[in-house]
């Protein structure tokens, strides 16, 4: 099978979910009731808006992740050809990791890795 057949897996996955939901739509009971449509928050009526301002900590971690994830994209091809390139590749990646480590250290000292 070639990589184009990935579309097959996409279709089969979508079919699995779609079929089951359509089946449940017909097979399952369906009784409308305004009480049922309320958000479930332990029985008491919900207070205020749901989409409020959110803790900025999550955003910080997402940004740091983005930086490191892009870096790790560079590491993958290096890892594949490491054996062939030998010492040169090793020294280069040590320098790369040094810079990466400095970045992590900076974020650490700045308190970006601390949850508050």
């Amino acid at each position: 099978m070639s990589a184009e057949s990935l579309i097959l897996f996409f279709i089969v996955g979508a079919f699995l979910v779609g079929f089951a939901i359509v089946f449940a739509h017909f097979a399952a009971p369906n009784s409308k009731n305004p009480q049922k449509a309320e958000p479930y928050e332990c029985g008491i009526p919900t207070e205020g808006l749901t989409w409020l301002q959110f803790n900025v900590g999550y955003y910080l971690f997402a940004i740091i992740f983005l930086v490191f994830d892009v870096e790790s994209v560079f590491i993958f091809p290096w890892a594949v050809v490491m054996k062939e390139l030998g010492m040169t590749a090793f020294i280069e990646i040590v320098i790369f990791f040094f810079v990466l480590g400095l970045g992590l250290l900076y974020a650490w000292k700045k308190g970006a890795l601390k949850w508050e």
Partner: protein
Amino acid sequence: MNFSLYDFTSFNQWIDKFLNDNLPAFWAVAAEMVIIGVAILLFYALVGLFLVYAERKVCAFMQNRVGPNRVGPFGFFQTIADFIKLMLKELIYIKNADQLLFNLAPFIVIIASFMAIAAIPFAKGLHAIDFDIGILYVIAVSSLGVVGILLAGWSSNNKYSLIGAMRSGAQIVSYELSVGLSLVTIIILAGTMQFSEIVEGQRNGWFIFTGHIPAFIAFIVFLIASTAETNRGPFDLAEAESELTAGFHTEYSGIKFAFFFLAEYMNMFIVASIAATVFLGGWMPFHVGSWAGFNQVMDYIPPFVWYIGKTFFVIWIMMWFKWTFPRLRIDQLLTLEWKYLLPINLVNILIMAFIVLMGWHF
């Protein structure tokens, strides 16, 4: 046709030839796709059902209970009964929920886990697609599931769901780094990202043994990080029952909920398969150096059995985690990743590169 349990290559070629001889080219390809699609779908459903049963049974034994034991022998058909029940439950439409995103979320989580299965080698010649970037592909696709989880939490119009989804997002993206980097350690040793070549490279010893201590550290890091990435306990903050009712899938009912549940178990199966394939030799039998007799006996066990055995061993370890450790807080979770696993991983990669460079690996 010579069918053998030890090498599926000839079996595949036989099917291919049979279809091409009897059908026009286009329909032969279509028939092949249908066969593969149905086979993978069946496998997916069976593994999902079995894992839910296994989890309940393992949990029960760890807590000194019996677990499900009424439906069928040893309660074996319990999950099938549960599945039928969930199919017949009402789908509730939530007031003020974003209906499009709300309905899209189960599709995304299931498709992500389904596409990841495409690259996993089950036995020699028994894989859907053999990518030359197999590992990268699986990491990329399986991390798409987080989009589904975020959508589910965001669109539910429920505070618990939103908190759960946000936690889950922070957690999955953080631990994805460690999953990727611990696999890099083995890519250095193997020199390839193709699953079939990685397995072939372990003919004379699994990478966890041939890679000295760095490979072992990478295995431990991968286990911890992949447990976190699949949202399983002790890292199940996203659906912490005691604080968030059910986290991101609080508002889902019936079959839609069942798909989140199924996706969680299938993700566990996928990461366990990768751990088994990359670190524990995939379908390669266990060989000990010069013990010819012992190796002969090991070779006699079909590769498929080896693969399943190793995968379920890893899954069992992950279940053991869940029922042993208490849940982490979000700050502890992020500290563990960014201040421990990530630096350890980076140093580990350098050590592994040095070992490979010096030719000290076996």
